[in-house]
Every structure is written in C-alpha cells, then in structure tokens.
C-alpha cells in the first residue's frame, strides 16, 4: 500500500481560487500542448480577473507528497532559547536536507521483498535453474527487481507548475460554479493573424529567427537550441489575415520539426523524434489501476499515407494549389490535410506520417497520479502476464479530485 497526498492549487494573480474539479492534459500531438479544464466556485472578487478577453492567466500547481513535514516552529520548540549559531553547531557537517529529513514523517516505509518471494516464483526449481534464468544478470539487478522502492522521503515529493491562458469562462449561475478552459500559448498564435495590406517578409531565412520574430508579437520567447533549418524565401511570405500559427507551423513541419510551448510559457523548436529525459516506470504491482491496448483504424491518430494541400492566393488573386505527400509502401489508410499557406517545400507530409505511424498502437494506462510523468518521456510498463512494454508517452491527463492519471503511449518515432 502506498499512501500519498495530492494537492492542486490555482491562482489568478495573487488570489487563490477554490477548485471543485480539474482535468489537466499534456499531449505532444496537440496544439496547444497543455489544455486544462477547471470547475471553481463563483467569487465576485475574482470573476473579472478570469476574463479571457483581457488575457487572464491562471497559475496551477499540482503536487504529490509522501509525508508530512513539520513547520519551522518545530525547530523553535526544540531549540528554544538557543541562537541560530547554536543550531549550526548542533548540526555541524550536516546539510540542510538532513534537518528537513529529520523533521519529516513519511507515510510509507520502503521495503525489499523477502527471499520467500523467489521461492514462491521458482518453487520446485533448483538454484541452478535460477542461475539459468538470470544468466546475464548481476546480483544487484536482481535485488533491484525485488526492491519496492516505495517513495519514502521528502525527495520524492514532486510539484509541477503551470502558467496557462484562459480560453473560456462559463458561469453556471444556478450552481454558483465557474468552468474555465485553459491552454498554453499556442492558442495565442492561433488567435493572432497578420493585420496589414502587404505580405510580411521575415528579416532572416533561418527558421529560429523567423519564429522569434513572430513570437515577439505575442510576447513569446523561444528557448535557445541548435535545431534549426533554412527556409525558402517564397514560403517565408506571411499573407495578410493568415493565422500566425498556420504560418509558422507550415514552415516548421516542412523542416520536419516540432514547435511547442511548454507549461511554463517556454517555446521549444525540436526534432520530430525529440524525447524528454527520464524514464517513467509503471507497474501492475505498483500504481496501475487499469490498462488497455488499442489499435484503431477508425481513429484519427493512425494513418499510413498523407496528402497535404497548400492553398495560397497569389498577387493576381488566383488560387495556387500545391501538394506534399508521403506514404508507406502498400499504404491502406490516407489522411488529407489542408493548409492555408504558400508552399513551404516538401517535408511536412513525411514528418506527419512518421509521427502518425508511431501512434498506431496506443496503451492507455490509468494509475494513481504522478506528476513527474510528461509527454515525450520514455516509459516502461510492467503488467503481470504480458510482455514488458518499452514505449514513449504521448499524452498524460491528471484528474482531480480522483487523484488518478491516464497515460497514453506511442512507439518511438523513426525518421
């Protein structure tokens, strides 16, 4: 049994909002990347701050704690009359974390399985059988396998923060509740379009520079990186009225890249096969509540051929259509996209196809919430009686107050 406490806090400016329920989804195949819906209580003082028209933003903090920490007053009580210098002497050579750990009461002890666990698994077998079964393993790996590293200290407490824009606000007058839809800043790019009588030409044909120039219009900031591409001068024209997101994403996809804004308002330009560091391990003897394994031809996620139609009105007012295609040999399911943009060169179809193929088989695993998990992270799923899955996380949705999350996986992207 693992015991933890889950918290969710929402703030608008310096005011705290009381939350009735919430669902927060991070999905690498979505734009906006993070979308959340909250139900809160109507509070007359706050309601004007929650106006989507005036760029209202909500800060969300979700956390999981594995124990109770004492307040600083515990130190005061224990060392009453002493000076801080006395405290320093008392704890000579110790880190501050040691003090924190002392004044922390974990909910769970960690423990290792007893040897009898091996006996029950390999009952009747000889030790030689065991050696054969694990011929390539080291002893410490076996120990690790049978060690339930239950989170037992302050180090496992994890908190994730979000800074999201309000997309819609709906007040249910009868119930006295407010429903909020929140999203990351891709939504701002989708709202924005070029207002001008002339086409816009970016100052540079380096993709990163173009993105920075456009993001500056919505106060966005692209995190430094080395992923870049050179774009075609014709494709770099931004037409009046064309959505900023459409303009950028056609350039980004043609270069086989991905542009997204993370939950802390940081923009990233990354490769299609980008992964987040870290490994999420989900166990059927750990936190998994249910799991299903889906392959679906009817869904929108998987296809094995892509046609993109670029539609563009030229200076004479004529509509110019250009196409980009990609397919797997012997393809059986085709998906068409229509983009209102000048032809940015071929490439987008292939990168969309690569990602669609990786979503062909999806595992949906519902577990007790864990806020360290995030999309594009490697994930190993161990379910008794089925082969171990070494996959990647496509999406994660955290739900409150049920304290459970659903992780949707994909296969690695091969380009």
């Amino acid at each position: 049994m693992t015991v933890s406490r889950h918290n969710i806090e929402a703030w608008v400016g310096t005011q705290k909002i009381d939350i009735i329920d919430a669902a927060i989804t991070m999905d690498e195949s979505w734009s906006p990347y993070v979308q959340a819906s909250l139900t809160t209580v109507v509070d007359a003082d706050l309601i004007d701050l929650l106006d989507p028209r005036t760029g209202g933003r909500v800060h969300l903090y979700i956390s999981q704690e594995y124990g109770d920490s004492e307040k600083l007053s515990a130190l005061t009580a224990a060392y009453s009359g002493d000076t801080i210098a006395d405290l320093t002497t008392e704890w000579t050579g110790q880190d501050i974390s040691a003090i924190s750990a002392t004044y922390f009461t974990p909910f769970n002890p960690s423990f290792s399985n007893k040897l009898s666990r091996l006996t029950s698994l390999y009952g009747g077998g000889s030790i030689a059988d065991l050696t054969t079964a694990w011929s390539t393993w080291y002893l410490y790996q076996i120990s690790e396998l049978y060690f339930r590293s239950y989170p037992d200290g302050i180090y496992n407490n994890y908190r994730r923060g979000f800074d999201l824009g309000i997309r819609s606000r709906s007040i249910n007058v009868g119930e006295g509740t407010v429903s909020l839809e929140l999203a990351t800043d891709e939504a701002l790019l989708q709202d924005y379009a070029l207002v001008s009588v002339n086409n816009f030409s970016p100052a540079s044909l380096q993709l990163r520079e173009v993105i920075k120039e456009v993001l500056a219009l919505i106060d966005g900031y692209l995190i430094d990186g080395i992923t870049d591409a050179t774009i075609d001068a014709d494709a770099a024209l931004w037409a009046p009225g064309q959505q900023a997101w459409d303009y950028l994403i056609s350039l980004v996809q043609a270069a086989g890249l991905r542009l997204y804004c993370d939950e802390r308002r940081r923009w990233y330009l990354v490769d299609a096969n980008f992964t987040q560091p870290g490994l999420a391990e989900l166990w059927s003897v750990g936190t998994i509540k249910s799991a299903d394994d889906d392959i679906d031809r009817n869904g929108e996620d998987w296809f094995d051929a892509v046609v993109i139609e670029y539609s563009w009105t030229d200076v004479d007012g004529a509509t110019v259509l250009s196409y980009d295609t990609a397919f797997v040999e012997g393809f059986t399911k085709v998906k068409k996209f229509t983009v209102e943009s000048n032809f940015p060169g071929a490439g987008a179809a292939q990168s969309i196809l690569d990602r669609a193929i990786s979503r062909g088989r999806q595992l949906n695993v519902t577990t007790v919430s864990n806020y360290m998990v995030q999309p594009s992270m490697a994930c190993d799923i161990y379910i008794l009686g089925t082969p171990t899955e070494n996959v990647y996380i496509k999406a994660v949705q955290w739900n409150y107050p049920s304290d459970e999350m659903t992780v949707t996986t994909r296969l690695p992207v091969t380009t």
Partner: protein, 118 residues
C-alpha cells in the same frame, strides 16, 4: 437553552430533541490490478453534517423558525449546556415540519445541516 441565530434573526426551540452528526472521509482508495491492498491518496474529511430536530410548542413559533431556516444564510448555535455552542452551519438538505401525532399541538422541525467554517 439552545438558540439558533443568523446574526439578524434568532429563534429558540423549546427543546432540541435529536442531534445527529457525521463526517465523510474523502480519502481515495485506488484498486491496483496487481495488488491486494489499495493505494491511498489522502484528503481532508468533510465537515460535519446531519440532522437537527427541534420541538416547538405552537404552530406560530414553529413557522417562524422554519421561515428563518429557509433563508440562505449561515446559522450559529448558542447553547449553554453542550459543546455545540458556537457551531456554524448552513442548510444542506430538507427542512421538514411535522405536526406531532398524539397531541395535535406540538410541532417538530427536522433540518439537514452541514457545518461551515465561518
């Protein structure tokens, strides 16, 4: 003597005939597919809620009390004898008014309440 007050309006039942309170735990028990014991995520329990039953000697005093309870407001109990003194609550279910069967004279009001931290 027990007095129930909303700040501006007050009534005093003849007798509090029944007081029953309960709290609901909101801890979430997660059934894990490979384990017998559930994982637990901790949450504070709800505040106290239950039914308050009061006796009135006349139809008019019962009706006054019923009218006051029907206001959407926070009530406070003042009680000189029990630990209920200072208990803050709101109405959360039904308020039922019953004429006592044998005498046809006494009135009983049962009100579902939930504690609030005022």
């Amino acid at each position: 003597m027990t007095t129930i007050s909303s700040g501006t309006l007050t009534f005093t039942p003849e007798l509090v005939t029944a007081w029953e309170t309960s709290q609901t735990s909101r801890n979430v028990l997660h059934t894990i597919i490979g384990k017998a014991d559930p994982d637990v995520t901790l949450k504070p329990s709800s505040t106290r809620s239950g039914t308050l039953e009061m006796l009135f000697l006349s139809a008019s005093s019962a009706n006054t009390a019923r009218g006051i309870l029907a206001n959407g407001t926070i009530f406070t109990i003042s009680d000189s004898e029990t630990w209920l003194n200072g208990f803050d609550f709101v109405m959360s279910g039904t308020i039922s008014t019953v004429l006592e069967d044998t005498t046809r004279n006494l009135w009983t009001i049962s009100a579902d309440y939930t504690e609030v931290i005022a």
